[in-house]
Amino acid sequence: MRHTQSHRLGTNNATVTDKQKSVHFRFDGKEYIGFEGDTLASALLAHGVHLIGRSFKYHRPRGIFGSGSEEPNALIRVIKGATAEPNLRATQIEIYDGLIAESQNRFPNLKFDLLSVNNLFSRFFPAGFYYKTFMWPSTFWMVYEKFIRRAAGLGKISKRHLEQNRYEHKYAHCELLVVGGGAAGLQAAVIAAQTGIRVIIADEQHKFGGWLLTDNNFNIDERPAINWVHDTVKKLQSAPNVTCLNRTTVFAAMDDNFTIMAERVTEHLANQPAHLPKQRLWKIRAEKVIMATGAIERPLVFSGNDLPGIMLSSAIRSYIKRHEVLPGTRIIVFTNNDDAYFTALAIYEAGGFIRCIIDLRKNPKSQIITTIRKLGIEIKTGHAVITAHGTRHIASVDIAAYDCEIQAPISDISHMDCNLLAVSGGLNPVVHLHSQRKGKLIWDDRTLCYRPNNSSVQWVSVGSANGTFQLTKVLNEATKTTSIIISKIAKHYKISKTEETINGPKSDDSKQNWAPTPAWLINSGQPHLSEKTAFVDFQNDSTAADIKLAVREGYHSVEHLKRYTTTGMATDQGKTSNINAIGILAESLNKSVAQTGITTFRPPYTPTSLGLIAGRNIGSLFDPLRKTRMHGWHQSKGAKFENVGQWIRAWYYPQEGEEFHQAVNREVYATRHYAGLIDASTLGKIEVKGPDAGEFLNRVYTNNFANLPIGKARYGLMLKEDGMVFDDGVTTRLAEDHFFMTTTTGGAAAVLAWLEELLQTEWQDLKVYLTSVTEQWSVASISGPNSSAILEACMSEDQNITDDFPFMTMKNTFIAGIPSRIFRISFTGEMAFEINVPARYGLALWSHLMQVGKEYNLTAYGTEAMHVLRAEKGFIIVGQETDGTVTPYDLGMDWIVSKKKSDFIGKRALERESMNEPQRKQLVGLLTTDPQKVIPEGAHAVLNPNQDTPMEMLGHVSSSYYSPNLKHSIAMALLKGGFNRKGQIVYIPMLNGEQPIKAKIVDPIFFDKKGDRLHG
């Protein structure tokens, strides 16, 4: 094996990594070996690999910096088959056999990256430089932009990618959701679990325990903390009322504790079982939420602080304890607080060599410091690292005595070499979820961090997420808070035991005086030199110089700062940078951090897969597709379909070698000369029942229905309250108190909803029941001269169907033995019958009619032919002749607007100033001078086609077809003052540069004006 794990310790008590099982993986083409439980980061560090990426703007070399989701630098690309996931964190990827990972944002390779020349010119790219230039010549931005876009962007996606993975969604309900499986979270969950309520506990990492996996040398109740973790987790996992989810990130906290989390189910496995999802999205409704999300260490800001080999102190400790990896040999620790001393101890115990500890505090005292001193490790108090040196890795640091008050070095600089620098700038509680819920944050001047105000009844933060860092205090807080919450919901959930426990288990954690000293920016002698290499946001390359420039230019609001310098806007959302940036901003403005404020955190806590969010709601499951019972028949006859809302309808039935228009013309011609059959099942159908049904319909239709005789049908027009046409259809009176209403296909749902709304909110005094029966009935509508003959041939009793069956009436009878409701109504202008049968018989009826109809030349026709047929008669289609801006008057349908009725929906609005204005757009017919020329639908008519743009437009063509019966192109249009323009010539300019089409404005009824054909 070429690459030995030079930095792996010999000992055998890693809390996470299992040295028994080795794992092979590749990084940038090289083969490496790690152990099960390693992250890509720990495994690479074990080989001494630090350099792992190039930075966003200056392409500076960057190394592994943290140990979890806070990692700003180690973004890599994982390749699996045709899929490549960019921008994943090496600190979170669990390695598996065959893992292939690549570094990003470098060309040609990591060690030598051409764009790193940006670094040399960094001086010319200060924050927001692009706002100040690239403006000349004015047309050139698109050119500049091309290069800027290429330089920007982090990872690359695979363009061949085709999603192979499954993503599941799952709803879950619980009384208590615990976010975070560290000391606080585990203790909270265990307390709650005893009461029998449903508890869900989720942790981002693949092992529960949080920082106890790292600080495992503490004792809890006289036992090693790690044992306490194991026992507690066992307890929880065995409890039937507890769901333990590791590898699960709670990324969004929303209204009323609707909490969303992403579970990584199989992506850490070498071969993923086909039946299991890659990830699972949990949508949880929790009665209460405990946020035990822990804290994240922040770095110190000084010149050269972004060099590979400089790492968070807590991260180094984690690599040692969890993975037994010591990422350096000559080590310096730089801190402003106690926590780093535990790292020093860990390094010492791991046999590492500590050059010295550099502590910004003048004379810090605590047990751990004494312990370290006893070990003979040098501690330089009141000192600071001023600059770090190195090319692709840290080689040495400049050190000087430093005064945090005056913020300047107060001694000569001394030089010290090293290959690992541990930095610790204090802890930031993870308040993201609290902030997502609009919870307020309080700045704590003693612990130097923002913590939640914990004022909500729905959720609460505990432990280090709440700014409580001492283990015993954490355990007590978790215990107390949890028992209080439970006692609050006890009644509601009949909880057995609810005595308030105050104290949790004892620990010997000795972080007594947690009081870091404030030092947001370590100043060198010459700020203008040092600040532009003192990095605040590593990933976005924003520096102390950038922040000060922003302040100089007046971007004082913390939001302006963030947006102008892009600090905190990278893929780590500023987990390590935000507070330092605010600190530096506050200092430059001579304000306190509290006065400066903080930006609100947005979901998600960590980047969340779009594939996961989409889940299975893609492809055919993106939206239900609704089919009629006759769909199978249409398909078998090779019909072409069109989508109408969620419905799919037969559009036309092309025969051997027929084009669209040929097929449609044939269907139209056949229907007029013989007979045609259309599947009208999708029409909305509503049963209107009750003593006030007539009155109700009177109020919702423009015309009168109260006086409709039983057994008779009537066409009705519905308006919205603004007087605009909303829907239309035929409604039939089945009994005194019983109507059968039909609506348009697209309008069905909206109409039912609208009518229900009126009944329930406006006219509660009306006794009317509405029931949708759209799908109860299959509808076959037969029209044409032969239609009655065909029906008779289907009727058992031998009688002339047209006898005692006048136009606009209905009959209950049997067709081919099928109980049917037949309506003698017509949308084609021919004698027609709309046959409704219980849906189960739909296909049977249809097939039978087609069978019997053969000898009568019965032709199945689709929606397109239907459109042509009704257009020949000048019948409107709501949604085609109307668009929410058209009144009945505009359609020339004054006859349907009752003058007698005291009231109907839309009546008053029709009387407004604009409604009867003569220049409104009104429905007219158009006949082209060239009978063969069909105007494209949607085209606009003008009087003078040669005018300049913007042209004076009269209006648009709403319907336009070739009429095979008239052997002439026909069209309907909505034109300004159309009614008074009958006879005028208009021109319709073409998009494709062809000559404008010339047409005459006519009456919109083109065929059988008298309507004789209705009666055969």
Partner: protein, 432 residues
């Protein structure tokens, strides 16, 4: 009228020393950028102004800039309760286009688009107006007809627009899925080449800097608490930084219009709703055009930084919370992944919401009110950003002359009485 005034260009930055340029950048680099001046003064309110603009977003700052630059009214204050551009200016998805169906809409959005085309130079601030084209998709026969109607109207209005076949769309947008068998297949689309995106923050900052240079006072962290009137005339405003006398008040406070209207006891036909957007992590360029689809309620573009920017329609209930409801982003992502399968490799980086003021006819209000000297510019719904320069200019014109010009006229409050609405619902769908 308007345009010719505008053609005279900007009077801002007469003093070269303050101008931005590649040379100034180099010069300042020489002394480590220590000498840059403030982009705008952090002014404290004076007791009296000729006009006060309430709202320091893009529209408000633009109004102030044009008042100063074209109408010579420089004794103006812009009052902002938070930070400049902190409302929808800094939260929108930066789409700019003028391909609207109704003449009235085409007029104002095209007026705006023409201004966008020279804005960086006018303001001497690079707003990164990127004319990468906006493509609107059609997924059904019905939508194809609607598209035809729109494109015909747009073209006769003298605005560029082309209908594209699925094949042509695939050529323009290689990553799109045009499989005819998906639930909402791509049957066609129309492209406005001059449309595109811009850097939203830069628009606020650019206008602020230019207006400031012309003498406009920009006052942040100052909340308006009341409007002072004498009978039917505006006499001033009350703020958290004291009272201010003025005869003209222009309200441009998207997301809070009704709140201000209440102070004046005026009724608006407005509902404030959340509008959500998300961005993915930044990746190398894969999408050079803005894509919109009304049928699946989703639009998407790739920012210069590399993030995929997604948006959808408004949420269904009134809210001032600047957060939205989860089903909306969940649906928009599903729609996006369906049209662009590569997206499932990416991850959502940020989700946020803005507050949009929606009108019954999905068109804005640029209007005088029954109170003399009080003007409202609001109700832009989801479409405000693209109109910023045009809106600012016609509103400045209205305030300066106390009468609407031909572009602003149709957008009067009166239309809700008379019924002369400009109904962009049918036409616009997702109206971004």
């Amino acid at each position: 009228m308007a345009k010719s005034d505008l053609d005279r260009g900007s009077k801002a930055f007469a003093r070269r020393s303050k101008r931005y340029s590649i040379f100034s950048l180099a010069k300042h680099a020489g002394n480590y950028h220590q000498e840059w001046q403030q982009a705008w003064r952090h002014a404290e309110p004076k007791t009296t102004y000729d006009a006060v603009i309430i709202g320091g977003g893009g529209h408000g700052l633009a109004t102030a800039y044009y008042l100063a630059n074209i109408y010579g009214i420089t004794n103006i204050a812009v009052i902002e309760k938070g930070w400049l551009g902190g409302g929808n200016t800094g939260r929108n998805t930066t789409i700019i286009r003028s391909n609207y169906m109704w003449d009235e809409s085409a007029a104002i959005y095209e007026h705006a688009l023409k201004l966008w085309e020279g804005l960086s130079q006018d303001l001497n601030f690079n707003v990164m107006f990127s004319q990468r084209g906006v493509l609107t998709l059609s997924h059904s026969e019905h939508e194809l007809k609607e598209m035809s109607r729109r494109v015909h109207a747009i073209r006769l209005n003298g605005i560029d627009s082309d209908i594209l076949s699925p094949a042509a769309i695939k050529k323009l947008v290689p990553m799109i899925n045009i499989d005819p068998n998906i639930r909402y297949p791509v049957l066609g689309g129309f492209l406005q080449k001059r449309a595109g995106t811009a850097r939203h923050d830069a628009v606020a900052w650019g206008y602020a800097r230019a207006a400031d240079d012309l003498g406009v006072d920009i006052i942040q962290n100052c909340e308006v608490t009341g409007l002072r009137r004498n009978g039917n005339k505006i006499t001033g405003i009350e703020t958290t930084k004291g009272d201010i006398k003025t005869r003209k008040v222009g309200c441009v406070v998207a997301g809070h219009s009704s709140v201000l209207a209440d102070m004046a006891n005026i009724r608006l036909p407005i509902a404030s709703r959340p509008l959500q957007a998300i961005v993915s992590e930044p990746i190398k360029p894969v999408l050079d055009t803005v894509i919109m689809s009304n049928a699946v309620h989703m639009y998407i573009s790739q920012s210069d930084k590399g993030e995929m920017v997604l948006g959808a329609g408004v949420d269904k209930y009134n809210s001032y919370a600047q957060t939205g409801s989860w089903p909306v982003p969940e649906h928009m992502v599903a729609a996006a992944v369906d049209l662009f399968p590569f997206l499932s490799q990416l991850r959502m980086l940020r989700q946020w919401g803005g507050i949009v003021d929606t009108c019954p006819d999905a068109s804005p209000i640029i209007s005088k009110t029954e109170i003399k000297g009080l003007y409202f510019n609001c109700g832009w719904g989801t479409g405000g950003f693209k109109a910023t320069p045009g809106s600012g200019h016609v509103f400045a014109d209205l305030i300066a002359n106390d009468r609407p010009n031909t572009i602003a006229l149709p957008y009067s409050l009166k239309r809700f009485e008379t019924g002369y609405l400009i109904d962009e619902h049918g036409a616009a769908g997702v109206a971004h």
